[in-house]
């Protein structure tokens, strides 16, 4: 074998091993890419966990029934502020009746909001809440809230919407005021479904009492 042939052989060997290595690298890197695509989605549950731990996005708020209420005796008072927003897709007026309250920690308190349906059709709305500062939500306990259920308002109907809550006395001392904020959104699928069935009922047997929502107490007012 001449020197040139040997060199050519070495060259061919080198090319072969390189090709193998390239394909191996390709496979590994494609796997990493797919993994990172999955990681993008994993950020959603991770964010949920983050919110649960920090109380971010109002996630720390506990919802309890009246039987579960704990009774405290604490003299500390803080300021509660109430904020109301309506999403641009919903033609309602929505306001906090109580703009601010001074509350004793651990004492069950009621705050009221009010809304009017300004549109020309019955609409089902749904309220989403948030608490500022975020960590305060961990000490916020609600027993009753209009945000627990869907809210149906007929054309021009006005309704007062109460929130019953207390603040746990474990609230850190540096928090002196808490803001509770609600945003009302239109529940588009529910509204569409309701208006469809309502039309059918009017055609068959006009009886508005058949209309049911989860919040019958408020409708009775």
């Amino acid at each position: 074998m001449s020197v040139a042939d040997q060199q050519a052989d070495q060259h061919a060997d080198r090319k072969k091993t390189q090709k193998k290595a390239n394909l191996r690298t390709l496979r590994r890197l494609i796997l990493i890419s797919i993994g990172m695509f999955g990681f993008g989605f994993a950020m959603w549950p991770l964010y949920e966990i983050f919110c649960d731990v920090t109380g971010f996005g109002g996630r720390g708020v506990q919802e309890v029934t009246t039987e579960e209420i704990q009774h405290y005796d604490d003299q500390r008072e803080i300021t509660m502020r109430f904020d109301a927003t309506v999403n641009s897709g919903l033609n309602w007026q929505f306001e906090a009746i109580d703009k601010a309250q001074t509350v004793q920690l651990g004492k069950l308190t009621v705050a009221s909001y009010t809304s009017i349906n300004m549109s020309d059709e019955p609409v089902i709305g749904h309220a989403v809440f948030n608490v500022a500062p975020p960590e305060a939500s961990l000490y916020f306990v609600k027993t009753e809230c209009f945000c627990f259920t869907e809210q149906l308002l007929l054309v021009g109907e006005q309704r007062d919407m109460p929130v019953t809550y207390y603040i746990s006395p474990d609230l850190p001392a540096d928090i002196e005021s808490i803001t509770l904020s609600y945003t009302f959104f239109k529940n588009i699928p529910a509204t569409l479904a309701y208006n469809k069935t309502a039309k059918k009922e009017i055609n068959n047997q006009p009886n508005p009492n058949n209309i049911t929502t989860n919040d019958t107490r408020a409708r009775g007012e």
Binding site: Q7, H11, R14, Q18, A21, N22, T25, L26, L29, I30, I32, S33, I34, G35, M36, F37, G38, F39, G40, F41, M43, W44, Y47, C51, T54, F56, G57, N87, H126, V128, A132, P134, E135, T183, F185, K186, N187
Partner: protein, 540 residues
């Protein structure tokens, strides 16, 4: 390296220089790293002018207060598409073009590791951008919610929404394939003797950039997919009414977005680190520290993303953490700047066009870095957020940073690519006009931002008028100056003084051992590397 070896190379390649004949075979079906590199560079230049034209519309509207030329909706489309085109169409493909051309030449490889995929990753781009730019002509216009695609605003885009989203998906796939190719080439195709710590810094920064791309482009794809399902399949990832959270999108986007800004600057650092030693006629100061600094910057880029969104509201502890983590990036970046200066210290410097652009880069990028530090300060950021100060900051790092480095690199390697010297006198004019007008363009925007002018708004109150007019004049002049660049490159491709193999007196590195223009096939047999051929790094 002696002249004889040059001639050997020449003879070696005479037999191999079979370029495919015909436009289709040569360019469309190309698997040659040099031709694909050229395609990337030409495409990037075209996108640079399309995106630039949009910038001209923006500056024309902002020339005077009040609505003058365009509708506010169209103005918002301009800011959005300008950013998408410049980021994904101009800067990123241009760097991939440099990688294609230079990495195999710099490490002594015959081609990229996966040539067929290389062809794919380029040819996706023209289709993706045709789709993206075509959204301007659709009902409801192009996306207008900003390049950051924040929901719920972006979900209100008209018919063009899905086209823009698919375009971004395609760009992502193209980038990932390009990155895989770069990594495979660098890890597997180096000539014997080209150990990792002897690689040119441009190769190093690109290796790190490619890992960043692999890590974050799929995350962007995930975010875009979630936007699509939120819009069309009633999921509620980012829809507050359905229990989602729009802030989550910002976290995912910036987890991609912050490494993305380093994807656009690390290869620039690499180019500058090649140019400064050449024209200072000294080896790069602190080569190893440069490598480690690049890797540190890449690592830090993953853990600072929330500094883009201080104002969404986050726990105080998180704000403090993201503030200090962000500031920490200035340490490895400072190492780089000081190393460049130390390289020039007592060097025999000459100031050819590539060196001028490199020096412009060092000074002006540092200004952009400092305004970035100001933005990192949480209490200050609440004031600066979404103002023209931010616009000034990222244009200093992107235009006088990335784009200046691209210009510098083009002038530096153009003789190697074309075999001709460019017109040095015109090159110097191009630099001086660019450097003056880019500052007239962007420097006043710092003041506008500090005075409270918001970004992405087509109208402004009269107290901002003077600085805006100044900025617009700078913008028009900077835009026109770039036509000179096209002219110079075109003239150089067509002819000019023949370039020698080494081109620059102080140039070191394997790419200068092949003749100019670089033959169609190079390093078919791996070169034997000796110390004189290695630009910097460890000696044997």
């Amino acid at each position: 390296m002696t002249t004889t070896t040059h001639e050997d190379h020449n003879e070696d390649h005479h037999d191999h220089d079979h370029k495919p004949q015909g436009f289709l075979n040569r360019w469309v079906f190309s698997t040659n790293h040099k031709d694909i590199g050229t395609l990337y560079l030409v495409f990037a230049l075209l996108m640079f002018f399309i995106g630039g034209a949009m910038a001209m519309i923006i500056r024309a509207e902002l020339f005077m207060p009040g609505m003058q030329l365009v509708q506010p909706e169209f103005f918002n489309q301009m800011t959005t598409v300008h950013a998408l085109v410049m980021v994904f169409g101009a800067v990123m493909p241009a760097f991939v073009g440099f990688a294609n051309w230079m990495i195999p030449l710099m490490i002594g490889a015959p081609d990229m590791a996966l040539p067929r995929m290389n062809n794919w990753s380029f040819w996706i781009l023209p289709f993706a951008f045709t789709m993206l730019v075509s959204t301007l002509f659709m009902d409801g216009g192009a996306p207008a919610g900003g390049w950051t695609l924040y929901p719920p605003l972006v979900l209100q885009t008209g018919d063009s929404f899905i086209f823009a989203m698919f375009a971004i998906h395609m760009l992502g796939i193209s980038s990932i394939m390009g990155a895989i190719n770069v990594i495979a080439t660098i890890l597997n195709m180096r000539a014997p003797g080209m150990s990792l710590l002897r690689m040119p810094l441009f190769v190093w920064t690109w290796l790190i950039t490619a890992f960043l791309l692999i890590a974050v482009m799929p995350v962007l794809a995930g975010a875009v997919t979630m936007l699509i399902t939120d819009r069309f399949f009633l999921t509620s990832f980012f829809n507050a009414a359905g229990g989602g959270d729009p802030v989550l999108f910002q976290h995912i986007f910036w987890f991609f977005g912050h490494p993305e800004v380093y994807i656009m600057i690390l290869p620039a650092f690499g180019i500058i680190s090649e140019i400064i030693p050449t024209f200072a006629r000294k080896p790069l100061f602190g080569y190893t520290s440069m490598v480690y600094a690049s890797a540190s910057i890449a690592f830090l880029s993953f853990i600072v993303w929330a500094h883009h969104m201080f104002t969404v509201g986050m726990p105080l502890g998180a704000e403090i953490y993201f503030m200090f983590a962000t500031m920490m990036i200035s340490i490895p970046t400072g190492v780089k700047v000081f190393n460049w200066i130390a390289t020039m210290w007592r060097g025999s410097m000459t100031f050819e066009t590539p060196m001028l652009f490199a020096l412009g880069f060092v000074v002006l990028f540092t200004i952009g870095g400092f305004s970035g530090l100001m933005l990192a300060i949480v209490p200050a950021d609440f004031q600066y957020h979404d103002t023209y100060f931010v616009v000034a900051h990222f244009h200093y790092v992107l235009v006088t940073g990335s784009v200046f480095a691209l210009m510098a690199g083009t002038y530096y390697w153009l003789p190697k690519w074309t075999g001709h010297m460019y017109n040095e006198r015109l090159g110097k004019w191009h630099f001086w006009l660019s450097v003056v007008f880019v500052n007239v363009l962007f420097f006043p925007q710092h003041y506008l931002g500090l005075a409270g002018m918001p970004r992405r708004i087509p109208d402004y109150s009269p107290q901002f008028a003077d600085f805006n007019m100044l900025s617009s004049i700078g913008g028009f002049a900077f835009g026109l100056t770039q036509l000179m660049f096209v002219y110079i490159v075109w003239k150089c491709v067509r002819g000019g003084e023949p370039a020698t193999a080494r081109v620059w007196e102080g140039a070191r590195g394997l790419e200068w051992t092949v003749p100019s223009p670089a033959p169609f096939h190079t390093f078919e047999t791996p070169p034997e590397i000796d110390d004189s051929m290695v630009a910097h790094g460890e000696h044997m």
